[in-house]
Symmetry: C2
Subunit: 246 residues, 2 copies
């Protein structure tokens, strides 16, 4: 019988919660990692923790606030230094990778997630005695073409290359022939399709938080709120998070 270990990157938003629910259908041993850094507010992190509790999965919070010093050339890590331009038309046309790109963010995120996953798998083999040929190692991530158009580390060819690098740098692959399987199940979906997928999977969408602000209720007017509302509208269902206040 195959034992499938999984690590999912969970921000607490609609996309990553849908992917996390998808992941739980495929793996018996799932851990959600939530990264805290500049742009994260406590609201998102609280929701991520609540989602993990409801889903009954392990939750590991990681403070990577040093990202501001490392991937410093970005409007997301240093907004006061590199403001997002008002006119975003060139970005939308995909002419250039925008200033909201965070240098190598997904490479950093995947490295950390893979190190956690490798630790779980090595423990399974070397301490619990599970046979390597009965183990799968899966990483789940929620990059999406709509949100991240133009970002180099959100393209399928990047994930292929990164899987190879993770394999070659790991003990689970070089010694036990277990590859890292990087899964990006919503990479090509529209927001409406993600909403439908989340509903189909019975993901706890009522707990998800998309608003850039961390107030009691979503602001309804930031880019993220607007994109989310449009998704639910196109999917033809009400947003279950809107009835919630806390």
């Amino acid at each position: 019988m195959t034992k499938s270990y999984g690590v999912t990157l969970l921000s607490g938003g609609l996309d990553s919660t849908t992917v996390t629910t998808y992941a739980l259908r495929q793996t018996g041993d799932l851990t959600a990692l939530t990264f805290q850094y500049g742009q994260t507010h406590s609201k998102e992190v609280e929701r991520a923790a609540e989602i993990c509790q409801v889903m009954g999965i392990r939750h590991q919070l990681l403070d990577i606030s040093f990202l501001r010093d490392v991937a410093w050339y970005s409007a997301l890590t240093n907004p006061e230094r590199f403001p997002v331009p008002e006119d975003r038309s060139t970005e939308q046309m995909g002419v250039s990778i925008p200033i909201t790109y965070v240098p190598l963010r997904n490479t950093i995120f995947l490295s950390l997630a893979a190190a956690f996953l490798e630790s779980q798998v090595l423990h399974g083999i070397e301490v619990e005695g599970i046979l390597p040929q009965e183990i799968e190692a899966r990483l789940y991530m929620a990059p999406n073409a709509i949100d991240y158009s133009g970002y180099p580390d959100c393209r399928p060819e990047y994930f292929t290359q990164m899987s190879q690098a993770l394999n070659h740098g790991s003990k689970i692959w070089t010694e036990y022939q277990i590859p890292f399987r990087v899964e990006t199940p919503i990479i090509d979906k529209s927001k409406a399709d993600i909403v439908k997928m989340g509903l189909d999977l019975q993901a706890p969408l009522e707990l998800t938080w998309s608003c850039y602000l961390g107030n009691a209720t979503p602001c309804g007017s930031c880019d993220s709120c607007i994109l989310r509302a449009k998704g639910f509208q196109e999917a033809g269902v009400p947003d279950p998070a809107l009835n919630r206040t806390d």
Copy 2:
């Protein structure tokens, strides 16, 4: 005229100080990154800072103590849980990757170093107006076959794969065609050859710290002290750090 940006990983030891000196001969804009985590003591970090000051290069310290929670299955990150076995004969024979392996450590280190380097390069192009075709991006690291025999993330084939992943996930490569060049100049050298290389390059070897302990003077009896002493002995020179106390 080519502008060469470099990031070097500097622990404050003999190997990384030699590589950092080598790097400074090749790049006009060098930053040293020092990672602080479980195994690091303040002595090493102080020496790394001193070395950067003497060499006149930028120094960025990064606290990654979360490594203990992420790459948790290792004698280096969780020594009380996974002690190094007394009998290390199987390790030395290269039969198996030892418990001192830290899951994906070099992948994490290179991701962070590359994000810093990419930030420097993007700033050079997009703010300072340097032409992409006149820019080089170099990462310097000091893996060595003697210290790390068997570690998957210290083999040349791993570095090749990782360079590719960094390229595919970056803006400097996908938009500006600047590849990451990962340089590992001492990967095949003996400790004696590293000592000779350091002396040739006039690296500040008197400031380097190799001892696992953080006392006023090196203990002289830990694995690292012994390996270092053997290196200087075989190179036929006295260790300049031994006359130093602070």
